[in-house]
Amino acid sequence: MASPSKEMLLDWYRQMALIREFEETCHRLYEEKRITGVYLHLYSGHEASGVGSMAALRKSDHVITAYRDHGIALILGMDPKAVMAEMMGKKTGSSGGKGGSMHLASKDHNFWGGYAIVGGHLPLAAGIALEARYRGKDDVTMTYVGDGATNNGYFHESLNMSAIWDLPVVWIIENNGYGMGTEVERASGQIELHRKAEAYGIKSFGRVDAQNALEVYAVALKAVAYAREKGPAVIEHVTYRYRGHGVSDKQYDARDDMSAELKEWVEKREPIKILRDCIKSKYGDVGDILARHEADAERIVAESVAFAEASEMPSTYEDLMRNTYVASELVYKTERSVGAGID
């Protein structure tokens, strides 16, 4: 098993520092009403889950996730400026301001997007993987899904389909203990969530401590190799959300048992600290490199905020209507057609 090189570990640190800075900045901007709206689900606490697993991918592989998508976008290398501009609904945002926090995507990065209906992206993942199988390519579709979503019909239908068609999907269940305010134990009959996939004949790579990027990476390598060669694989990432379900759900943070629990995760299982300790124990004093990554993260995020705030909002009727449909010569349209969209 290939263990990650020093360069890789340092780069993971860079990514995780960037995500944390980005997310905490989003949180602050929301409090200051510089990011508006009702939905903003942060990846703080989840960093090692995305960073460690996506390190096992190659460039031609695919990624798709739910609404907790900022971290995934940044790991894939999307421009933080375009991501921040999307948070603010600006024209320069990655989705032109139409999608917002929950709908980041980048065709250039094979990032098929974040989706807001729980479970809704899972059959899309199966379809994206089908294209690879269909055309004889061995690209893998890495699919992130929450614990709560495993109780939804979309999950079961999609997993079963991936199994019977041997689709190259790695299903990563990000088990952060809660779907909104409901504990896994109260929502799922089977609380070892990866075993739900096993029931469909999908190869399980078990449960992983997803606060530890190295462990995540080691398992992801195996699962990705399996999916590339054979068919669907599942991994259950045990992780924790630091900022509750989302900004509009402050009540979750307020619960006493939850804040005690959060404190314990932050103290004992903080993913960035775990990685830092690991790098230090392996390579001695790399403190100034890590400090540089932290400073870079601050600078990059500050620049992304400045860029986003200086950008224009979409404001015209054309901005509103554009891209409902593909402009097509096969559509018969006159001035009086109703419902054809505008080109």
């Binding site: 609904g89 301001g97 917002g100 929950m102 305010g181 409901t182 901005d319 969209g341």
Partner: protein
């Protein structure tokens, strides 16, 4: 009679609570309704008062919420099943359209399905396309289920009570934008205050133009009526309250007086509430028609995140006023 302003959320909560106190067979289920006290706080305190048997948190399993309500109702319970928002009721559309609305019919009256689906509806606040629907007309499309959409607290109270007590399935939508909005409820309100299913209401009288609306559309219509009054135009506001059955008699009565009509809705314009009302009007009121019937609805587009263009897509009082001025 003394009255007090009550937020619509509180009126709904009170109606539901009283019905649960009255009838042991009434129970609620849905995502986050129990331990977390309801996403929209409608079931706040219910778990404590009624216990886990009658206040049931469900997994994120809309298909099963929709279908289990049908089974429980067929078996004799009176479920009030909550969809956290109506956007997620799409996942249960089959259970709603094919089973809630049809089992009675396809077994020729053998069963009844006394259930209520509650769902928070509407858009705004940059909720983005998949969370920005006011799709009441879609559900009202299907014979076999009734659809209620209150516009104020007292109506919500009386309409929900009727929906729970009636032996037919009812889809009951609650405009998110109206949850915090206070409106008067009499202090000595009778616990049996019931608004018959399908009965509309005149919310403002006027002789110059009829504004037909439901739920949040009534707010826009009333605001528009106030603006129009400054220019000496008196609008009558008809709140249909129920999309199925439709109280067309009330609309006809108003139209015979005003001979002009603008239909206001939060939903999309194609195959819509507005289309339905306009079609009925032209069929039955042709001789009374002095101007084309106008419709004000959302723009024909999925809803964007960005604030300014979202507002551009939303109907409002100003758009209603403009539509009225076009036909005066």
């Amino acid at each position: 009679m003394a009255a007090r302003n009550v937020a619509m959320r509180e009126a709904i909560r009170r109606a539901l609570r009283e019905e649960m106190q009255r009838d042991e067979d009434v129970f609620v289920m849905g995502e986050e309704v129990a331990h977390w006290q309801g996403t929209h706080r409608v079931t706040r305190g219910f778990l404590e008062e009624f216990g886990e048997r009658r206040v049931r948190d469900t997994p994120i399993s809309e298909m099963a919420i929709g279908g289990a309500a049908v089974g429980a109702a067929m078996a004799g319970l009176r479920p009030v099943a909550e969809f956290m928002t109506i956007n997620f009721a799409f996942l249960a559309l089959d259970a709603i359209a094919n089973h809630a609305a049809k089992v009675r019919y396809f077994f020729d009256g053998m069963f009844k399905v006394p259930l209520v689906y509650r769902a928070a509806s509407g858009w705004g606040n940059q909720a983005t396309a998949s969370h920005s629907h006011a799709p009441e007309p879609i559900f009202a499309h299907f014979p076999g289920i009734y659809v209620g959409c209150p516009s104020n607290s007292l109506d919500a109270y009386g309409m929900l009570k009727t929906s729970i007590r009636d032996d037919n399935p009812v889809l009951f939508t609650e405009s998110i934008a109206l949850y915090p909005k206070p409106s008067p409820m009499p202090d000595d309100l009778d616990e049996d205050y019931l608004i018959p299913i399908g009965k509309g209401d005149i919310k403002r009288e006027g002789a110059d133009v009829t504004l037909v609306a439901y739920a949040r559309g009534v707010d826009w219509a009333l605001q528009a009526a106030r603006l129009l009054a400054r220019d000496g135009v008196e609008a009558e506001v008809v709140d249909l309250r129920w999309l199925r059955p439709l109280d067309m008699e009330l609309v006809y009565k108003s139209f015979k007086k005003t001979n002009r009509c603008v239909i206001v809705e939060e939903s999309l314009p194609m195959y819509s509430f507005g289309g339905e009302i306009a079609a009925n009007l032209q069929e039955r009121m042709f001789d009374y028609m002095d101007a084309p019937i106008k419709r004000v609805a959302a723009e024909d587009v999925p809803l964007p995140y960005s604030k300014d263009i979202e507002l551009l897509a939303l109907p409002d009082a100003r758009k209603v006023v403009e539509a009225v001025k076009e036909i005066l």
